[in-house]
Symmetry: D2
Subunit: 338 residues, 4 copies
């Protein structure tokens, strides 16, 4: 098997995680290039991963003849144009979620991708690759809960006093685009990809008053209606006290599945004067450790002609379309057409 030569753009916290996986754990991949406007990140790339092909300039990076594929862990606002540039340069592309903050940008990417059917283009909806979510989907597919018709899903982060996400609010697209986009994708996946018709959202600021100036909230609820009668309800929070608790429930006519409840860090239970307790995972890095590896393995496998990646750009576009409608509803206070 020829290795896929990979270049990574963006070496922040998540970028490094991907780089570590690509360097040491993904079969069939060789991490050979890096791109960052930050010199320290490029130095680290060379020092820690032995990467020789270092680019400060994205254009040069994307046309580097020494790479077959790029992994983009860059700000969301850059995603669409960068994916397009990479596809047009003949590279396979893995890009972090969300694909873009507007449906128009997503559709631009889709149009370009259609003209490059030989290139893999994959958005990092990492949760589909988590063993628990994958097992849950297998149960749904096997009919073990009958016909699924309702999804309840949440992404709730441990409160971050530093207020990082407040400063980040403008470019992240807000709570629902940043967090719930995963839940949206999972709901569509579990429900068999029905078309969403309407969304209604409501939220509140529990702790981070600074969000008000961005028309954002730190706790939000949304109901989404789908054709055929399926429904989803999402909850996103920035202010959990015990850890990062990602949870998804799929309710069917013959049973229900619940993924991620309680967010145990490990298999340890401590009983003492506080009661009987487990510690929760601290963040999505800890929670989706294994999934990050599996998603890149799936990407690399697809690059060398293995199974197609199990999610399409159209899935990413739909997630953005629903996320946008939810965000619009949060601001208008009214249900919005999706």
């Amino acid at each position: 098997m020829n290795s896929v030569r990979i270049g990574i753009a963006g070496l922040g916290r998540l970028g490094r995680r991907h780089a570590e996986n690509l360097a040491w754990r993904i079969r069939g991949a060789k991490l050979v290039a890096a791109c960052s406007p930050i010199a320290a990140e490029l130095e680290a790339a060379q020092r820690d991963f032995g990467i020789e092909r270092l680019h400060a300039d994205f254009e040069a990076f994307v046309h580097d003849p020494g790479i077959d594929a790029v992994v983009l862990v860059t700000p969301t606002a850059l995603h669409a144009d960068q994916v397009i540039a990479a596809l047009e340069a003949g590279k396979h592309v893995f890009v972090e979620k969300p694909l873009a903050l507007s449906v128009g940008d997503c559709e631009r990417v889709q149009a370009v991708a259609e003209r490059h059917p030989g290139r893999v283009a994959m958005v990092g909806f990492v949760r589909r690759f988590d063993p628990s979510y994958a097992n849950a989907m297998a149960e749904v597919s096997a009919g073990h809960i009958g016909r699924p018709f309702l999804v309840r899903s949440q992404t709730c982060d441990l409160n971050d006093d530093s207020g990082f996400f407040v400063r980040f609010a403008e470019s992240s697209g807000g709570l629902f685009m940043d967090c719930s986009v995963h839940d949206i994708d999972l709901a569509r996946w579990m429900l068999g990809a029905p078309r969403a018709t309407r969304a209604f959202a409501s939220g509140t600021i529990a702790l981070h008053e600074g969000l008000a100036q961005h028309a954002d909230v730190d706790n939000g609820l949304a109901i989404v209606e789908f054709e055929g009668g399926a429904r989803a309800v999402f909850y996103a929070s920035r202010t959990f006290a015990h850890g990062h608790e990602t949870q998804t429930e799929v309710i069917g006519t013959a049973g229900k599945l619940l993924v991620g409840h309680g967010a145990p860090r490990d298999r340890v239970v401590l009983s003492d004067s506080q009661g009987v307790r487990h510690r929760a995972v601290a963040d999505f890095f800890e929670r989706f450790d294994e999934a990050f590896e599996r998603e890149l393995q799936a990407f690399v496998n697809a690059c060398v002609g293995g199974p197609a990646v199990p999610l399409t750009l159209a899935d990413a576009t739909e997630a953005t379309r629903i996320g946008v409608a939810i965000t619009r509803s949060l601001r208008s206070g009214m249900p919005e057409a999706v």
Copy 2:
């Protein structure tokens, strides 16, 4: 201590449960009279509980000089007038929830009750008397989760193939008035009784197509907004496969409480080729066994001058007001003012 002489009206399944508690378990109470238009129920009252004062006619019942208090387990449509009649006859009144299906009826009852301050008037929001809910409220009051700002609460019943609730849909007020009214009351309780401002609902029919002709659903979601920023989201289902799962989550700025998750029937876990599992409680009778007793004990205690009951008619009115707005939203598809 003089016993409170009690008459019960309505001896269906829940009526019998109350009668058993009154006859055998409530201190300070004597179950001495029964009222029912159904002869068999009166016969059973005499045979099983030794009740001598039997009434087919409600007017005669409510003016029976041998009783001090009435317990009304009658159809919801009758509640308001019956409570008023009982108060005006000088009796203490316990009435099953909801107090009425319209706010106007609730307010009529409140007005009469205000003219009879010496009479106890209590609505059966039984969950407040459940030990787990009471313990949760104690934690909230002690500040253990900081400031509560979000409640997620559900009432989900084991699917009943007989379709009883389909036939009952018209008189029950529909899914939200029948089931969620408990969750509404709990949310107000846990959140410190803020005023609700808007409600939005959406639902679907998963199994019971017959509900369509009653503009009802068998699975429904609702978001309620409160003054001051608190939010609640409710889920009600008639179609659970594993049992009756009542669950309430109260989320605060320093932690969260979850009541009722998994609905274990008992403390038994079975491990076999199916996995590791517990059985779930079958219905609210099994789940709230102890609470049914405690609520009547609280009522009887109040009748003899003990502590006032911890919930007012105004609470019941607010629950109806919110439930009505949710139900209106389910039909209009738009947010409705509460």
Copy 3:
């Protein structure tokens, strides 16, 4: 139904619990007499339960013509003689566990009971009446775990710094006779009452050094061998930090049942900076609340000709026989014949 007129001897903490149940919750019973050498207990009996027939002297009590049955909550050392006296006075008898600390005493009681077949004689192995244990036994009986062949059972108390049980060590019979006798009875019940052949025990003092002078321990382990190959292992502790955790596991050829794991106080889970936790029940009073009531109801039902009580004096004798062998092994360090 004629009520059974009951006298209670011993009104300490557990005695009062039984008195409350007999006075207010047990159908078919009337608590009419009390016996205690402690004047304050008799006064309380009169004041709190309206008991008129008060006895400082056990002989007078047991021959009181106004009572049909006695409930004995007296020191273990007195059990055998008191049960015999009550049976010979023609009374039904309920006595707290253990029946006696020696097999000889148990057998003396059995011999007398055989001469009074019309009198009910029941030992308070309360756990058989706990709904969870009863449900577990129903699963075993239904064959859901195949053939049961191994029981692991524990009785572990919240540490009591007051050292009450240290002073009590001599008269309680030690850790295994005091605590494990319940586990022994449960194991025999679940395993189909096989004959025990050998016992081996080992223990340690974790906190309460004062036990050494009584040849007792505060944490003990014991293995019991039964004819036919079944085995049991018991654990008893006086030093748990989180609460009272009674747990029993029954392992069969097709599955296993676990009763009581984690000892949740209620259905509440708190998530905060400490993790995700529930509080544990504090003591056996809280844990076996409902069972205490059910066992006395079963006793009273048997007194009026209802179903025979589901455990015999022979069961109590066997529990003592095994407990004695375990205690002997703890001291000898060698396996002891049962």
Copy 4:
């Protein structure tokens, strides 16, 4: 960093797992040689891992100048001599547990290892490298449960109808040497490595009658006494119906830790007409997936001068010494000195 050139001996199921990790996931390692008497295994080594240095003969393998270290996944009976040969050939050695079935063999290995202080010699007590066990040990070390004085630990396998372990009984050393040796090592680790003084065991055959001719059982219990008062109780089973459940409880003076309870396969809970359940891990491969990788990473790190491996040959000798005493007790029926 120069890679450690590794040769693996034994390519059965566990051998292949180690080979996969060495080939693809362990940083600083290069899997370059394989040894097996089975031609098909060598062919697979070449085909699947690209290994060029293939040995049918162990002597040739161990003297292969192209390798720095060997990983031995061979029958237990061969361990001692093979480890000695490898050390004397100047190689680092990782050997599967148990080190040997007799204390004498363990001590022979230790003596040789002491003469080769520059060579790493590590026994595969994989559970120490499991994240949950490591986290539990960190809590113990931090004093969160006070002074640990009791360990309850079990290794219970899903029943294997094929009876593989029956045929394997003679060479495995029996139930306790095969399974409980892990629990023994964990108990020593958690308790601070006290010296064991006595062991008592008892067992039964629940399903696999063929074990009788090997003086073995399919379910066994053992109590071990340590100097200073600590105690351990072990349970091993070959006949679980729901999966592989490895569980360890460490009880201290201020709390307790429980690792592995319920053996959930993942974070999925299914609620249906069977109740509320999770699936259990099927076997130790699934349960200790991550630990297998971590232990080899620790070995390789030590080979290149990183931190010493956190368990010594003396630990392995002690585990065998205790396991041998337990096995002797199972046969004699009497406590045996360790």
